[in-house]
């Protein structure tokens, strides 16, 4: 029997109510222990208020070779960024 524990990816929500952020990985036999281990490994310096874990093998990732088609089309959609629009100063903050 292989005793190697599967790998988990760890996501932590920091103190300030931001999104969960990927902080690293660890090994654990199941999800419950992965959460406990994440608490011990990745919040030693008071970094988190909430933890997500997901098995690394369950993550579906975009393929590096699709980088062009996936991400470059958005380069031309400059109007999605607020700086695209010139608003006269007199209008005030917008």
């Amino acid at each position: 029997m292989s005793s190697e524990w599967p790998l988990w990816e760890v996501f932590i929500r920091g103190q300030h109510g931001l999104n969960h952020r990927h902080v690293g990985s660890l090994h654990a036999p199941d999800a419950e222990m992965a959460i406990k281990n994440a608490r011990d490994v990745y919040t030693r310096r008071n970094e988190g208020v909430s933890i997500w874990v997901v098995r690394s093998s369950e993550i579906a990732a975009s393929s590096p070779s699709d980088k062009g088609p996936l991400f470059e089309p958005s380069n031309s959609k400059v109007y999605r960024h607020p700086t695209f629009f010139d608003i006269p100063e007199e209008v005030g903050h917008m």
């Binding site: 790998l7 660890l26 990732a61």
Partner: protein, 332 residues
């Protein structure tokens, strides 16, 4: 440093490279990070596995010389600080193993290679910690040398390695300071304490210089690793920087660096200093350091004694999963 004996193939010129290799090298030259699933030369992958793996091994073997004094730390606060620091090293090993795993090797495989001697760890951890000031000296000198190596590695080309180094450097900022703090107390303490501090410096000075590895001015391996940005500075550059930084710190403590040839060189703007005894370095790497057997023995014992524990938790997780499935089926 942690790549003391990592060998790579010689460097190819851009003209000799295949189109893929050239595109890869150009990405690195532009400062782009390489991510795990992207194409990379087999040599890059292999070299990184060895380097990150040995770096990880160094962290967990590095727990042992300091761990040696946790139960003997002289105050409750020192005990807590030392324990927190040695715990951090376990954490750093963990981050690094995970970074190596993104290259398609498992942590257990890397452990296996540590245990059977086919992968090394930094030679420094084969030296003993004989008195309490050694704990100060390890933090001050050994972590000081390590930080010097690790800070530039935050910019290394491989994304997961770079991110692990960023986290590690952030956490490590207190390690060297706590070591120096111990040295300050010892150097300003009773004559016996000061003697311990000097003794610790005497024993750790040259092994610390060895941590940067032999001169690599003419090494083809280093040239390739530097082209790939998995090595950022030469061993000699880092060693010089370390000496220049450490000498004034020793002076502040009123301790003497055990090198009669140590002298400020105005022209180069750095200290001249004696080379460590490289035959000792190769002896230690070959397994003949003062503590090689204890260090590796302790790791192997921890692993073997823990087999039943790791297996049991896998078995329990499988049982629990099966029970969940069964109750789901029953409910349907």
């Amino acid at each position: 440093m942690y790549a003391q004996l990592v060998k790579t193939e010689g460097t190819k010129s851009l003209e000799e490279m295949t189109a893929e290799e050239r595109a890869f090298q150009e990405r690195i030259d532009r400062g782009e990070k390489i991510e795990p699933k992207e194409w990379m030369p087999e040599g890059y992958r292999k070299t990184l596995i060895r380097q990150i793996g040995q770096h990880a091994h160094s962290e967990i073997v590095g727990q042992l010389p300091e761990g040696n004094w946790i139960t003997r730390a002289p105050t409750l606060e020192r005990k807590a600080i030392l324990l927190a620091k040695v715990q951090d090293e376990a954490g750093h090993g963990l981050y690094l193993y995970c970074a190596a795993e993104t290259l398609g090797v498992s942590r257990d495989e890397l452990m296996e290679k540590l245990h059977n001697g086919t992968m090394k760890y930094s030679s420094i951890f084969n030296y003993p910690t004989l008195n309490w000031a050694d704990i100060g000296a390890v933090g001050w000198l050994v972590d000081g040398a390590a930080i010097m190596n690790q800070v530039p590695l935050q910019r290394t080309s491989f994304g997961p390695y770079s991110r692990a180094m960023i986290r590690i450097c952030k956490e490590e900022s207190f390690h060297q300071r706590q070591g120096y703090d111990i040295m300050m107390k010892m150097a300003a303490g009773t004559p016996e304490q000061k003697a311990m501090a000097q003794d610790a410096l005497n024993r750790f000075w040259y092994p610390s210089l060895m941590m940067f590895g032999p001169s690599d001015k003419d090494s083809v391996h280093s040239t390739q690793s530097m082209a790939w940005k998995i090595k950022i500075n030469t061993n000699d550059e880092l060693r010089q920087k370390f000496v220049d930084q450490t000498v004034p710190q020793a002076e502040y403590l009123g301790l003497t660096i055990p090198d009669a040839n140590l002298k400020w060189n105005e022209e180069k703007g750095g200290y001249d200093f004696s080379e460590p005894d490289w035959s000792e370095f190769f002896d230690v790497i070959a397994g003949n350091g003062p503590c090689n057997k204890e260090r590796l023995g302790a790791r192997v014992k921890a692993w073997e004694d823990g087999t039943w524990f790791r297996e049991a938790l896998v078995a329990h997780a499988e049982k629990a999963q099966a029970r969940r499935m069964a109750s789901k089926v029953a409910a349907e």
